[in-house]
């Protein structure tokens, strides 16, 4: 078991190194750079230093940002910045990438958590009802809802949500500033609820489909019949006996759900002007703020890898039927 864990962790370190290098290379291929964008903006938007030609300014800016170094030198500096320099320094703000991410993280976590809550609220009841009323009209309607929710893009469901809110005026849509959930709970909730529902419903539909098919399997098992034969109430049999076992395989899709939520947050944050990591990704990519792009991609990928590793390890613990490496 210990050997297995060590092996998995080492393999994942290799994977993260690959991600790091891949992103580094891709970012170098991107046309244009931050210095060029800044200099052209300074010359076309006014504010250029007197007696300095655009070429000189460009050269100076490139030198200052380290864009003139050879690729291997840039790579070495990048790797060093991960260890010593809090993931490097943002070209745009001059602050460390880690500080930037720390600023954006709470918004993304709030959106992700609210989406997860919506997802669970959808998946659990709908999955259970759909399984125990298998092939009924209700089951048909709920399954149709699930495949529809998986096919609908989250930015469209969020648009419909906005439309409904416009129509009935339930919520305030013009939220000023970026209220945090702890400081201004109600405005913050109003800002996040539409994107959270839009993001949560589709991941909930995914979990619901999994849960339904697992429950259908489990409900045919002997121990469920035993529980029923003992005279236990249907609710006890389903919640205490069947659901517990049906949820174990559902665990395996959690890593995928996490990655989907992160992907979804990119669009939803841009759409609702939430200053989280997704919006940060788009902004920094557009302005070619290389250190931020690299740092963000690395942090997000590490998140996915860690969630997947945790899921696998928890899976080993909760399902004794699975063993690794034979002799244990």
């Amino acid at each position: 078991m210990t050997n297995y864990v060590i092996r998995r962790v080492l393999l994942n370190v290799a994977v993260i190194w690959l991600v790091m290098t891949f992103v580094f290379v891709t970012v170098r291929i991107l046309p244009g750079d931050y210095a060029a964008a800044q200099v052209s903006e300074r010359y076309f938007g006014g504010g250029a230093a007197a007696g300095e030609s655009p070429e000189e300014a460009l050269e100076k800016a490139r030198e200052r940002l380290g864009l003139n170094d050879s690729i291997p030198v840039q790579y070495a500096k990048y790797v060093r910045s991960l260890v010593t320099d809090d993931l490097g320094t943002s070209f745009a703000t001059g602050r460390s990438v880690l500080a930037e991410i720390r600023h954006a993280l709470p918004y993304t976590i709030q959106l992700g958590t609210m989406s997860m809550i919506v997802g669970v609220l959808v998946a659990l009841p709908v999955g259970i009802i759909s399984a125990i009323r298998q092939d009924s009209l209700l089951d048909g309607v709920l399954r149709l809802f699930a495949i529809g929710a998986l096919a609908a893009p989250s930015f469209w469901t969020a648009t419909i949500g906005t439309l409904v809110v416009l129509e009935y005026g339930i919520l305030e849509l013009n939220i000023v500033g970026n209220p945090g959930i702890w400081e201004d709970p109600w405005p913050s909730f109003q800002l996040f609820i539409i994107p959270a529902v839009a993001g949560g419903v589709s991941s909930g539909a995914l979990v619901m489909r999994m849960l339904r098919s697992q429950l259908l399997d489990v409900l045919r098992q002997d121990y469920v019949r035993t529980a029923q034969a003992k005279g236990l109430r249907a609710r006890t049999v389903i919640l205490r006996h069947a659901l517990r076992n049906a949820l174990i395989p559902v665990l395996t899709v959690l890593g995928f759900v996490f990655a989907t939520l992160v992907s979804g947050s990119v669009i939803l944050e841009a759409m609702f002007n939430i200053p989280g990591m997704g919006q940060m990704m788009i902004v920094s990519l557009r302005s070619r703020d290389v250190p931020v792009v690299q740092g963000l991609a690395l942090v997000l990928a590490t998140g996915v890898v860690v969630v997947n590793l945790l899921v696998d390890l928890v899976y080993l613990q909760v399902d004794p039927r699975i063993s690794v490496g034979g002799a244990e």
Binding site: F22, L150, A152, P153, L163, L300
Partner: protein, 303 residues
């Protein structure tokens, strides 16, 4: 004859998948032929007095004189424009049809490219095993670890926005899952007697992989090809929504543009988003049905 019999069998056994196939086929037909049939061009603008206004036949001096408020901006449904017009006075239905072309082209090509490249890598990884397998699988792990949209954003920025670039970027994303599936199928096939027989008469590794393994992974390839078209259409719509995909009419772009006019003309966002949903739904249902028929081991993992 055989084709018709099997099609009839499929339609009888897999009702939901058949509905999906009909949707998918409708989107493909509209995407392929629609732009030729449509009476207007996607950039034609229309005025209120003359719904058939064509800027190409208009005298340019006359155009200068015409009052821009006379353009049919955000007009409601009419016989000439069944879905009305957008904020520049362009016909919405025509733009929807052109959007279908983009979605179908990108979705189908990206899935096809990913299926082929993924199959080659998957067979090599699964058949050769050892260090090659280990290395390939870690690279795939790395590709899959970066959240899909983040990787997609990175890749589509590497050049001028174009259909080809979007297809390549989506194909890179699709290679990972195909490789996984084909690799696991190859691991099973490698232990089969017919592979052992081929090896015992001295067939080389290339020949075994190409002539004996490859024909047997076509089933899983078709399954993942059809199942991934919907995912690709969704991803392309997301890119268009962020205005990072191909310039020109697209469903995602229309949802984004329509958001500014939600209170006056919600039809713009609603119709485009509805089209995305129905297209993805169609391809997903078809994919699920094909998986049940072609790959019985995975049956029941869906609906």
């Amino acid at each position: 004859m055989l084709v018709f019999t099997s099609l009839a069998w499929f339609a009888r056994r897999k009702k939901l998948a058949t509905i999906g196939a009909v949707f998918a086929a409708a989107v493909v037909v509209v995407g392929v032929f629609g732009p030729y049939v449509a009476p207007y061009g996607d950039d034609d603008v229309f005025s209120e007095e003359n719904p058939h206004y064509d800027p190409d036949n208009e005298d340019p001096t006359n155009l200068q004189a015409s009052n821009p408020t006379r353009l049919a901006l955000l007009s409601g449904p009419s016989w000439e424009h069944p879905l009305g017009t957008d904020e520049f006075g362009r016909d919405l239905l025509t733009r929807m049809v052109h959007g279908a072309r983009l979605s179908v082209t990108v979705g189908v090509s990206a899935s096809a490219v990913a299926a082929m490249i993924g199959a080659v890598i998957g067979i090599i990884s699964g058949y050769l095993g050892g260090t090659v397998d280990l290395a390939i699988q870690r690279i795939i792990d790395a590709l899959l670890a970066i959240p899909a949209l983040v990787l997609l954003l990175l890749l589509v920025q590497t050049g001028e926005p174009s259909t080809q670039l979007t297809i390549v970027a989506l194909a890179v994303l699709g290679v990972g899952p195909v490789t996984r599936l084909v690799r696991s199928a190859t691991l099973v096939l490698r232990a089969e007697v017919f592979v052992e027989a081929a090896r015992s008469i001295g067939a080389g590794q290339g020949r075994i992989m190409g002539r004996h393994i490859a024909p047997n992974v076509v089933g899983p390839m078709i399954v993942i090809f059809s199942a991934s078209i919907g995912t690709n259409i969704l991803a392309e719509a997301g890119l268009s929504f962020l205005n990072l995909s191909v310039p020109g009419p697209s469903w995602g772009g229309m949802v984004a543009d329509g958001r500014a006019f939600l209170d006056s003309k919600p039809m713009m966002s609603l119709a485009a988003g509805g089209a995305i949903t129905l297209a993805v739904l169609g391809f997903n249902l078809l994919g699920d049905g094909l998986r049940d028929v072609l790959d019985p081991r995975q049956r029941g993992s869906g609906l």
